[in-house]
């Protein structure tokens, strides 16, 4: 009597399991992590006004067309590689430099991420986000 060989069914099943285990992709979250400052309590008088000089803080203003204005400089397109060099120069002047990223409401979100990414890549911890 003809019989279908069943000896290899276990192997087939295990192969299927291995296939599913190796091809399963877990939805891992990856991204740029930031800690926002606490909400300012203007009414309670707990806020302080500080005047920071260019040696202490660098303003990076991102305009709607993607141009970047550094401190009081005229806005221009800055490539990521050039941005890295500028950040390094600023950190050399002051290792505790604060970088204030001022993004226009009409600017593309990806432009803000590009600047913050370059700051994070340079291991900058003091990043402030604000909008104009």
């Amino acid at each position: 009597m003809a019989a279908i060989p069943t000896a290899s069914t276990g192997d087939i099943a295990f192969l299927l399991i291995i296939f599913f285990m190796s091809t399963t992709k877990f939805d891992v979250k990856e991204g740029i992590k930031l800690v926002l400052p606490q909400a300012a309590e203007v009414e309670s008088g707990k806020t302080q006004t500080l005047t920071l000089t260019e040696k202490e803080m660098t303003r990076i203003q991102i305009l709607p067309d993607g141009q970047i204005a550094l401190n009081r400089e005229a806005p221009r397109y800055i490539e990521s590689s050039e941005l890295d060099v500028i950040i390094q120069q600023k950190v050399q002047i002051n290792p505790d430099m604060i970088f204030k990223v001022i993004t226009d409401r009409e600017t593309k979100y990806s432009e803000m991420i590009r600047v913050v990414d370059r700051l994070k890549a340079a291991k900058i911890e003091k990043i402030s986000l604000s909008t104009s």
Partner: protein, 144 residues
Amino acid sequence: MAKFSTKKRRGVSIPQGSTSDIAFLLLLFFMVTTVFVQEKKFWVERDRWPHAESIERIPRNHTSTIYVLRDETILLDDIPTRIESSEDVFISQTLIRKKAEDPELIVCFRTDRDTKYGVMSDIMRQLQDANTLVVAFETQPLLK
């Protein structure tokens, strides 16, 4: 002459007849328990996320994801909303509740890269109101 009687050792064998049944049971278990992510009406595809280099892994068990679409529709807990004015407090109210449930809450932004920054700024202001200060912007690796 005396002879030692030698007992024949019985070979120990593990029964293997049921391995295929076990394997198929495992397979059925995985097939039954697998939950596929349902196609949502509001969704930001991975290829629409901004690119970045300094990516870090974010622990999933403490995250809550906010989807922000290009048309400024915000999706929080599968509820689509929009921020029409500074009086809108839907996001902050929802996050106050979530923060009470999980004090280590991290808010993840899954935002379309072409979204205008204004809406993100409004959401972050509500996050500050809810004292949910740890945020993560989901990104994809930079193209080389």
